[in-house]
Symmetry: C2
Subunit: 345 residues, 2 copies
């Protein structure tokens, strides 16, 4: 692990996922109730068949949000739903959240009221209760940490590790819009910073901007699956981009995948805006992230019962690990997928 | 709530505890399992008599720790135990934690290994499992967010709100040492910053420095109470200082208190160091904070079964609310207590 001479290993040498694996590899599980440790969307605690799910996210100003274009009410909403999304990704039902914030005196009580109004709207939309948290001073930037708690029957929990060769790969909604929303907001921000007489022009781009500023967690998809009596074989939510997420499923399931470019759902607004920005729409969909859609694998039999009307699309299938993780382009060319993740700046 | 003219209310007008109350007052509880919301050491989720406890803390560089004198291994240990302390303060048993960190590239993998080694030592000492978390880039300062999960039987959970007139007030260990440790470390830091040839002189001060850098959560006290078959009427952990904490119990229980200065436990090292720093030892004990001792109230009958040998001291009693929250000095003078808390800088 050590670099030559200095004895210092840069975090970038391991990457985000390698770092977590490395740091937590010596931790052992000592409680019978701890079913699953680090490495899925949520931790699982078993109370004799009935389970508690726990997921946590840290949102930092300048990294995860920019207060220049992110209204506090939207930020409050988003900070809750991105956590609930992790509970849904385990096929669970979120029930409670805790919220911790680190704030400086540049915030007024009214600003925080907006933040909490957004949080409350998200809690109400998803039927979850705020049951605690921590409030502290931050010297440098605004910090939000949310932990979501949910429940699931043990035999209904869906991990990342259950995909089997021959399973179909499905995704809800469409991809890449949140990323294009971010590109647009960043462009309008630079224009405004150069000349503050120019007001942002977001007309006709409400969908992508909304997907970035106020994403939704797919409670409805979990409910649809339950109604159809389908339990996916593996599931994850799309926070880092389709490419990274399907690779998590494949790595943990010991399989490969073949995605079909022609089947990847991309909204028209996303598509046209990508072209306008000289970006490849499929790259935005594969690597963009922050879609908070659900990506899951299904037996062939269950996949046959899924129709596009419910907002779920079959985009590929699970193949043997030896075939790797690939995307077949519309022209029939095979591309190998790359994981994204992050490295510290 | 609004200031004149500007429509801007400063957070300092409400203070920490007023702010939390204000922001969360419109949140409603919609799940039957959510027993207790914001306002105690931990949230409580009821699964038919068997409960899950949840507590979360946010630690920010420059506010809660200074990496100049806080070794990362100690910081890892402390970040876990301060959360476990909240679970013990509900008379619960911690079982799991999640850990989120925000880091910049100035940290090496080896530095993070130290941090996680400290976390692992704390997890092992308290029999808790790391079951998840989040790792992200931070542009400005190091951020740690820990959520602790525990269990308790519903009828054994101790809230802040149960103190009754006539109950005795008890505290574990001794108070003010962590605060004096901080004063000492801050002094040595300023000396070092002026002249980096001068090495810190902490000889004979190991106790107070240890209390600051590597506090312990009082698992043993919860076990002693169980062995003695004592369920306190109210309990809280001492993180902000004895004065603030007893006032939380009094406010939520609708009572007052009378503390006896002569009974407040202060270690000799703390006492002498306070005098050396021209500080009043009792003020350090009352307002210092970060002791992570347990402060609780007991029926008179239970209090009679507590002896100082087990490391618990009776320091006063609960009185009617009309008598306020007071401290009787050694000279017999009555002082009214003041809450601490914080205001954003």
């Amino acid at each position: 692990m050590e670099s030559q001479d200095t004895g210092r290993t840069e975090i970038s040498e391991l990457g985000e996922f390698g770092l977590i694996d490395h740091l937590t590899q010596t931790f052992r599980i000592s409680n019978r109730s701890s079913v699953y440790g680090v490495g899925d969307d949520a931790g699982v605690i078993d109370h004799d068949g009935f389970c508690t799910l726990i997921s946590t996210d840290l949102l930092l100003e300048g990294v995860h949000f920019d207060l220049m274009y992110c209204p506090l009410k939207h930020l409050g909403y988003k900070s809750i739903v991105v956590n609930l999304s992790d509970i849904y990704a385990m096929n669970g039902t979120p029930t409670q959240v805790t919220v911790s914030i680190g704030i400086s005196n540049r915030f007024s009580v009214e600003a925080l009221e907006d933040l909490y109004a957004g949080m409350q709207a998200a809690c109400e939309a998803h039927g979850v209760d705020l049951i605690g948290g921590d409030t502290t001073t931050s010297l440098k930037g605004f910090v939000i940490s949310v932990t979501a708690i949910g429940t699931a029957k043990k035999d209904k929990i869906v991990y990342r590790r259950g995909a089997k060769v021959g399973d179909k790969i499905a995704v809800s909604g469409d991809l890449g819009a949140a990323f294009m929303g971010l590109q647009l907001l960043e462009r309008e921000k630079s224009i405004f910073l150069e000349n503050n007489q120019i007001q942002p022009d977001l007309e006709g781009q409400e969908y992508v901007v909304g997907r970035q500023l106020k994403p939704e967690a797919r409670k409805d998809i979990v409910e649809i699956l339950e109604r159809l009596q389908i339990v996916p074989t593996a599931m994850i939510d799309v926070s880092d981009g389709l490419s990274s997420e399907i690779m998590h499923i494949c790595k943990q399931s010991g399989v490969g995948c073949l995605l079909k470019e022609a089947e990847i759902p991309i909204d028209q607004e996303t598509y046209h805006l990508a072209l306008k920005f000289n970006l490849d729409p499929i790259t935005c969909a594969m690597n963009g992230g922050e879609d908070y859609e659900l990506l899951f694998t299904l037996t062939e039999e269950d996949a046959a019962n899924i129709t596009e009307e419910v907002g779920i699309k079959i985009i590929g299938e699970i193949v043997p690990a030896s075939q790797g993780c690939t995307l077949e382009s519309k022209a029939g060319k095979i591309h190998h997928l790359k994981a994204q993740g992050w490295n510290p700046l």
